[in-house]
């Protein structure tokens, strides 16, 4: 069972960046009728998203977030010993984007840098790995970067995904902290449902060809190529309302705490109907569940740190908060973390 427990390790700072350009889901649009768009907005809660232009990559959003965080916190670059970049929209297929960012950010050559290919579960997975590196006394600080340009992955003409995704990048600084209490993480995977959310072509199983970049029309009227993302909405729905609450209960049981002990529940920002449903079903008061998906859409692994930067900077600056965070999606992969946020530095949201 992938349960991890840590103590005296914590998050010391978080920053996030989004592209300037807004996309209003309810603005007249050639592909979705007004009724269809309204129904998606009503169900998901996603009114607006940020869309990166062709010259802005996930790494650029992370770079902006990291630069601002390191500068404002006056972090000496040489103290960053591990750089993790989590994304499914990297700059290149090779080399790993983290290595390019090591140089751009002016980090030491003796800093470990690597990418992790995970989506919506990626923030909680990434924090868990970062905490694990921090157990080593030779490691000072860890910089965790989560970045996605999902609007470049999905077709805007796809009925099930065309209005959901947004672009963003975040940087989180993790280090040892004597005041930090126990934190606990649960990481999960289910490859039997890998086809629920995927980009079928463009890898090595089904390589890119003139055929894979042709737009096809599907039964429901959606138009997309085989190199664009697909999502089985009702399959993902069943997964989310079943497996996610079970994982939350498991983490609470492992920690000996109850729903009442948690100050803030940070759900991956994907669909307000679904996460409100989970909250109601688990008797989680809705005022403990902040949302920012109305402004940014589903930004995959960035949604949790973006939600913190966007919604919680005041709450977190005054007192220690116990938070439970849960990320779930493509893989299928899901993860839950229970940790204290000990007044981390929260930088202002950057618009690029």
């Amino acid at each position: 069972m992938a349960i991890f427990k840590y103590s005296e390790i914590g998050i010391s700072g978080i920053s996030a960046a989004v592209p300037k350009e807004k996309y209003n889901n309810l603005a007249p649009n050639d592909f979705f009728t007004e009724k269809e768009a309204k129904s998606v907005v009503k169900m998901t809660g996603i009114k607006e998203r940020r869309v990166a232009p062709s010259n802005i990559c996930a790494s650029d959003l992370c770079y902006a977030a990291a630069e601002q965080l390191l500068r404002e916190m006056a972090v000496e670059r040489a103290t960053i010993d591990v750089l993790i970049f989590i994304s499914q929209t990297p700059d290149y297929r090779m080399p790993a984007t983290s290595i390019i960012l090591q140089n751009r950010l002016g980090l030491s050559k003796s800093c470990a840098a690597f990418d992790i290919n995970l989506g919506c579960s990626g923030y909680v997975y990434g924090l868990c790995f970062a905490y694990s590196f921090c157990k080593h006394k030779t490691i000072n600080k860890i910089l965790l970067l989560n970045g996605e340009t999902r609007t470049k992955v999905y077709s805007f003409k796809d009925k099930s995904t065309g209005l959901l995704f947004g672009d963003a990048g975040a940087a989180t600084l993790i280090e040892r902290n004597k005041e930090a209490g126990e934190s606990i993480f649960s990481l999960n995977a289910d490859g039997s449902r890998y086809h629920f959310i995927m980009i079928p072509a463009g890898g090595y199983r089904y390589p890119s060809s003139p055929e894979t970049v042709k737009e096809k029309i599907f039964e429901d009227g959606s138009i997309r190529t085989d190199e664009q993302g697909i999502m089985d909405g009702s399959g993902v729905f069943d997964f989310t309302i079943q497996d996610v609450p079970q994982d939350i209960i498991r983490v609470l049981n492992e920690s000996g705490r109850s729903i009442a002990d948690i100050d803030i529940f940070l759900f991956h920002q994907a669909n307000k109907f679904i996460t409100d449903h989970i909250a109601k079903k688990m008797d989680i008061p809705l005022e403990k569940v902040p949302y920012s998906l109305d402004k940014f859409g589903n930004t995959s692994s960035v949604s949790i740190p973006l939600n913190i930067v966007s919604e919680l900077s005041n709450q977190l600056s005054n007192e220690v908060k116990t938070v439970l965070m849960t990320g779930f999606g493509v893989g299928l992969s899901w993860a839950t973390g229970l940790l204290d946020l000990n007044r981390p530095y929260i930088s202002k949201l950057i618009e690029l």
């Binding site: 129904s39 009503k42 169900m43 309302i241 079943q242 079903k281």
Partner: protein, 73 residues
Amino acid sequence: MINEIINLMAECLEKEPGELKATDEFREYEEWDSLAYLSVIAKIDEDYHLVIPRDEFQKIRTIEDLANYLENK
């Protein structure tokens, strides 16, 4: 049970319970769409603590079928 399910279905479809009959094939309603499907599954989960798997739900045709399914669980 059947009245409970008629009320549940009416609430999810934003219809009056009086407009629904036990023998209705609910997929035939004009209001039935993917949002209605998710609402029904979520409401059943809330009220009966049961997530009906998609392939099993597909076999359920009428409101009566749904009531019977839940009664046998």
